[in-house]
Symmetry: C2
């Protein structure tokens, strides 16, 4: 640590964020690269840290401040506290990372009863001078001395009322003087001392206020939530005031170097002539588009454009700039990385690669997987201007429109009947899950990002807003109000779960599509990633979607879903209620032909790419009708008495359903266990797969089927089933007079399989981690039950840091994955290992799978682009880490 407490802008640079704060470093950097920045200096974060111990501004610091103030006076050609030619400054906080909750800016510091007169003379604008003084007292009182903002507002309102005025701008100098007098009285009442006339005291009070604000509750809480160290401290920048409100040759504004909504490369922003920065933000006057700045002054417009280009060249990213024009001279007051929409982020990143501003590696690190996720959800047409009636937390992305319904049962029923419903609740509980599932979107007035509604909606992929506190629900009269607007049941609203906006009425939506820029960005990702990306797809349609989204194969094709269509389910049910192997064979024979067609279609869609087909996994009773329904049907059939055949069949189904009922079906008679006890089921499926592949081969295609056995827990299961399948396949090859390439592998989804992966690998051609089931067993959490009961509490209380079914639990489940990989490869050095649980589409989990050494991840087609990006990001980060 150096003893230097203060840096003039020209003494610092952009890399000194930790010492000078983000804003300070930005100002120093802009100064350094020759942009017109008003002179100023920065008190370092080290001083702040010291202050937290001593709680006072010591003499050393005071004398250093004086020293830099003198230098500033020299540069400005003005004197701090001088009546004739007063130097005014702004004081701002600025931590190394952007941190809301800290002290706001204080402008016009240095004004007092004397200097205000000097300002008046200097600007020849009495009203401006007193308005500036009035504003300063208000800001200093509010920001530095914690006098409630509305107390000042009340005084202002009283005076306007007294004179029958509507706008602040209508106040005359005399009126402003009266207000100043009242402000001073308020100040004395609240602080017990007179408003400080000494500019040095104003300055040191303001600096202390910044330091104190580092530990105000809002700041502490923000740091906690965002995991920012309490040790960073904040810097303070003191800058010469420039005035955009010095007349019609003055102005103030903000500008992005590119369009933050679309990414278009063109200055974007707005400005107000004869105004101070806060006027732009306050929205009292409608600002002009930055396009009009050329009309105001072509020179300054060009200067600003050049400044933007210079900053982009320098920072290699889109900038968000604040500027002020004082009497025809441009001053740059701030620059920072510009916030942008997901769409803009992608375009900017790709454009900057084309402009040789950044590398491909850098471009992919500019986008978060969450942004891609947003781009892949239905969203509000960006060309439509919306006026939110309320705002909440963006708990689950995407937009949805529907009729407002407050009652969960009603939502369930009407949703089932096909109506588009937005469920509006104080909060949700486990009993509401069905209603949520049948609504288009969920809106709650309470709760945070980990509330029940948020967690469940994200799991369901439904748009959701939580904690929209402005909304007051009046359930009895079936309506809600927000900011004076009343919305009745059945009125249509739109929620934007990506932004947290609640909008009245229906809004045009756009279906997500891959823009050419996104395709380009994902192409960069493909160049950079090491993990393969496959998709979980059960139908040819899904396979085609997956291909379009960039999947390199199918990592999981669930065959059981193929049995649920109306013409097949009865055959499946016949098979299950069969009493003998022979009877079963008849239904299975018919199912085989259908399955063969399924596999033919999916293999042809993925011609030349691997398709991993998982054999039947769920318990058989899942295919039978619910017992309650069967009992009802049987009662009816008995009464009618006209179809004894059907009655017998239904009775058999009921009996079988009772036989097959289980206490804990998730860990019961399913997966390979069914395959072992009823060999003919898997024999049928294997036959269908291999026959379909042979047909394709004969037709000149290149099918790559991989047969996957589910729920293996013991090597002997793998061994037995592989042997049986091999026998079946060998017979087909002999019969057909040809062979095809195929593999037989297994899901690794039971803890025991990971622990004995070395044994299992002896018989498996590939592994695919089923991390959904693995997470269930490793935690002994039944997902359906856990998410409806204790997981919300666990997340709220921080017992679980993250929802383990969304982001893989590295300490527990992850350890088993690593054990499985190490043991599997111990037996087979080049064993292909992937993952096909939902974690395959989760960026944090993908990072883990990269480091665990997997060959690929497989996720839903919809998440393939996210996975491509996430996989590239971790590969790039690893490379950077190694450099």
């Amino acid at each position: 640590m150096t003893d230097k407490k203060i840096y003039a802008f020209e003494e610092g640079n952009g890399s000194m964020k930790n010492l000078l704060g983000g804003k300070g470093a930005g100002l120093a950097e802009m100064t350094k690269i020759g942009l017109p920045v008003p002179p100023g200096f920065i008190i370092t974060t080290e001083v702040c840290k010291e202050y937290q111990k001593t709680k006072k501004i010591d003499e050393d610091l005071t004398s250093e401040i004086l020293e830099y103030l003198h230098k500033l006076e020299e540069k400005a050609g003005k004197i701090f506290g001088d009546k004739a030619n007063p130097l005014l400054v702004s004081v701002r906080s600025g931590a190394p990372v952007s941190m809301p909750g800290m002290m706001d800016t204080i402008l016009n510091l240095g004004l007092n009863d004397d200097t205000v007169e000097g300002l008046k003379e200097l600007t020849n604008n009495e009203r401006f001078a007193y308005d500036s003084y009035r504003r300063f007292i208000q800001m200093f009182g509010d920001v530095a001395m914690e006098i409630p903002h509305n107390e000042f507002a009340k005084i202002l309102d009283n005076h306007k009322e007294k004179h029958g005025l509507k706008n602040d701008t209508d106040l005359t100098s005399e009126m402003l003087k009266d207000i100043i007098a009242d402000y001073k009285i308020l100040y004395q009442e609240k602080t017990g001392e007179e408003f400080p006339q000494d500019p040095m005291m104003q300055l040191s009070r303001s600096i202390e206020a910044v330091f104190k604000s580092w530990n105000n509750p809002r700041a502490i809480s923000y740091r906690n939530i965002n995991k920012i160290s309490d040790e960073l401290g904040t810097a303070v920048s003191i800058v010469m005031m420039v005035f955009g409100n010095m007349g019609d040759d003055s102005a103030t504004g903000v500008a992005f170097t590119r369009n933050p909504a679309t990414g278009e490369k063109k200055l974007y922003g707005e400005f107000l002539t004869n105004a101070q920065g806060e006027d732009v933000v306050a929205g009292i006057r409608t600002p002009l588009s930055i396009d009009k700045l050329g009309e105001f002054s072509p020179t300054i417009f060009n200067q600003l454009k050049e400044a933007g280009e210079k900053l982009e060249q320098h920072y290699k990213d889109m900038q968000d700039m604040e500027f002020t024009i004082e009497k025809g001279k441009l001053y740059m007051l701030q620059t920072r990385t510009g916030k942008r929409t997901a769409q803009a982020a992608v375009k900017v990143a790709v454009d900057m690669v084309n402009e040789n501003l950044i590398t491909k590696e850098e471009s992919i690190l500019r986008i978060t997987p969450v942004q891609i996720d947003h781009l892949l959800h239905k969203m509000i047409d960006p060309s439509v201007k919306v006026s939110p009636i309320a705002k909440g937390l963006p708990a689950s992305p995407g937009a949805a429109s529907g009729k407002v319904v407050f009652d969960v049962k009603e939502a369930t029923k009407r949703g089932k009947d096909g109506e588009a419903i937005i469920l509006v609740r104080l909060e949700t509980t486990p009993e509401d899950i069905e209603g949520m599932a049948h609504s288009e979107g969920i809106l709650t007035t309470r709760g945070g990002m980990t509330a029940h509604a948020a967690v469940v909606a994200r799991g369901m992929g439904k748009p959701c807003i939580v904690g929209a506190e402005d909304i007051k629900i009046d359930a009895e009269s079936n309506r809600f109000t927000t900011n004076g607007i009343e919305v009745k049941k059945d009125e249509i609203i739109t929620i934007d779960g990506s932004l947290g906006n609640v909008i009245l009425g229906e809004v045009t939506m756009v279906e997500p599509e891959l823009t050419s820029e996104l395709r380009q960005l994902l192409a960069y990702s493909d160049e950079l990633r090491e993990l393969g990306i496959r998709a979980n797809a059960n139908t040819p349609e899904e396979a085609i979607k997956a291909l379009d989204y960039g999947a390199e194969g199918i990592g999981l094709c669930r065959t059981e879903r193929m049995f649920l269509s109306p013409e097949r389910l009865p055959l499946m049910q016949d098979m299950i209620i069969s009493e003998s192997k022979e009877e079963r064979s008849i239904s299975l024979g018919k199912l085989k032909d259908m399955q063969k067609k399924d596999f033919y279609d999916i293999l042809i869609a993925m011609d030349g790419l691997p398709v991993i087909i998982r054999l039947l996994d769920p318990p058989l009773h899942e295919f039978l009708p619910q017992r309650e329904r069967l009992e009802k049907e049987i009662a009816e059939l008995k009464e009618k008495g006209n179809d004894p055949e059907l009655l017998k069949k239904k009775e058999k189904a009921l009996q079988r359903s009772q036989e097959l009922a289980e206490f804990n079906p998730m860990i019961g008679f399913r997966g390979c266990r069914v395959g072992i006890v009823y060999p003919e089921i898997y024999e049928m499926q294997v036959t269908a797969i291999i026959e379909a592949a042979i047909q394709l081969k004969k037709e000149g295609h290149d099918p790559k089927p991989k047969i996957m056995l589910p729920l293996i827990s013991h090597v002997n299961e793998m061994k037995t089933l592989k042997e049986r399948a091999t026998t079946v396949i060998t017979n087909i090859f002999r019969k057909e007079g040809t062979t095809i390439d195929y593999q037989i592998g297994t899901m690794i989804e039971v803890p025991r399989a990971t622990l004995t992966a070395d044994q299992i690998a002896e018989y498996a051609d590939f592994f695919s981690f089923g991390t959904n089931d693995l997470t269930q067993a490793t935690f002994a959490f039944s997902r359906d039950d856990a998410e409806a009961t204790f997981i919300p509490t666990y997340l709220k209380d921080g017992i679980l840091p993250t929802e383990p079914f969304i982001t893989i639990d590295q300490d527990g489940v992850g350890k088993l994955v690593r054990i499985g990989v190490v043991l599997g490869r111990k037996t087979k050095n080049s064993l292909e290992i992937g993952i096909c649980g939902e974690h395959g589409g989760d960026p944090k989990s993908i990072e883990f799978f990269h480091y665990a050494g997997l060959n690929y991840v497989s996720c839903s087609p919809f998440r393939v682009p996210i996975a491509r990006l996430a996989a590239a990001q971790v590969a790039v980060k690893e490379k950077l880490g190694k450099e």
Copy 2:
């Protein structure tokens, strides 16, 4: 390998089992220590192995056989094949380990049409000579040449019928000659050659038959089942014949050096005068007790006693001896370790320690945990006066009641279906084993203590009575009569295998208790074992039982079972259907007082010993009435309409029951998850435990409560619950003005807990593996479902080598246990770690837990003695392995 193919008895010794087989080594050893063994020699197992390759007896072997035969002739003073003074021999197989399924003995080898005349002259007993010849042809034909036994029996029966005779002994020499002639014809018909008159050919054929029998299907199957190497091979012993049937000064018998039923140190056995060994085994004549041998000849009785003592001194174990007395001279034909009942095994082991024959270490290795298990089986209440309807030999101790069944297949089927069956047979054969296994007990009307039924039943630990000669079975009419009483199929009888009593109807049984010898043996075990032994006990009664059985504390006290009594369940239900914490507190307050009493009672019972109390574990809905029942009750209440209060309560219970219903309750909302979501439940339990302990301490006792949290999967669950409990306890200490020692630990029963045991150990004072749940989750096997569906198939097909809920799966679950131990102790070096799953009472699992470094196992009180022994055995074995 040596080239020596044959050993005379005096050339070998008892340690040469691998080379000479068990029987051969025994004969050599007896010869060596000076016992009267008939001379003979042994062809080694190496020769057998060689034969398996060459499939012939080569010249080298033939000449060596001739050499040893000459030496034998010299010792015997007889000549092989000599008409005047013929040497006869027996030929027996003998593998290194006892192995049924191999070739039986052939006696009287060397007899032919000539030598039979010599034998006649020599013994001056024509009938004996021809009977011997007849027997030889039959044995040689049956055993060596595989002519079906019943073909010979048919010839014999025909002749008896022709002469109107009933017993074999009534046959005259002339009749026997006719039979011999018919036997020879049969022989020629079946083998295509004449019965060999050349004794050398008889001998070499017999030796080959022994070698061939090594690979007969029965032998192979026995080796497979018992995991005996196919590489061992069998030896062949050739021994000079001695005859117990040479007149009234001859006899043959078997004797145990101690009573194999009780262990009493006294010769035990039986003999038949003027008989050959096979007559004893066949059970045709009822033998005399060995006590009567003194009357036959005091000298020989003493010789036999001395031989027994010498053998015991030598072998350090109880011996089972075969002997023959030929014309007043005792010959020892075989000795082996005597099979015994569990009770005898314990007494013999303890007595032999007292006699300084064996060490304590050796004594505990003499008993199998299974035997202890048998001793802990029930017997007839001694206070009940029983009137036996028949008496037999007490062949296998313990008592059993069941329905009389005569047919073995029927017994198998009905036994499997859960009926209690007593199998009643003339005698049993190896085909009857399955029926015996599925019966409660076995009763035969023939045979002695060494008959098939007796030996097998003792092995199975089933009560068995043999030789109940008063009972006459009439199989055709499905009944038996005894002393005028008729008992039909399906009537219930009770057999007392310890006393030999058959009783009509069911009799009150008593649970077994520990004999003084067993207590002594377990005391040795306690000295030698390293694992602590605790019991799983939920009530004071169980705790007292556990103490009596030697438990050193309670490893698992399940508190939820305390809520199931009629006066408590309604309170528990009230608590569950409470809608608020306040409502819940009222029911919990009442439950607390009851729980405090529970804990007081159990802590006082285990005064000074650790008592691990597990907080509530099962899902709450388990305490609510079944939904079907509630629905019915509600319907009834509605109809009556007289108790609206109760109706409301029932409706609430139904609603709550629906809310709490789960898809997979085993891995759902239970254990610490309920404790976290409803803190007041665990607070109540912790309060009850600590208050009970404080009361005990104030009364001068030494309570050692240890609070155990169930189903921890994440360190934060442990941390949160421990903090909450500590707060509760600190408050009680403050209120009561005193403190007690306590610990807070956790079950390790979720895979994730083992994988993160290092984190969990930060907050846990102890670990206790819950291997039931851990096995379920590690395999993803719901025990209830798996055992009802696929596990039987898995065991039958060998997919699972053992039932993993009985014997711990070392490769999978065991690996997690080891990981948990290593990680837990990494954090806390001296962390106490135990196991309280059912595996805690399984000897094989106990062996694993010993090596895994656990501090103790905890099992049901009933299995505590077994655990004490098993723990000692593994400790001794480990010590021996290290020596």
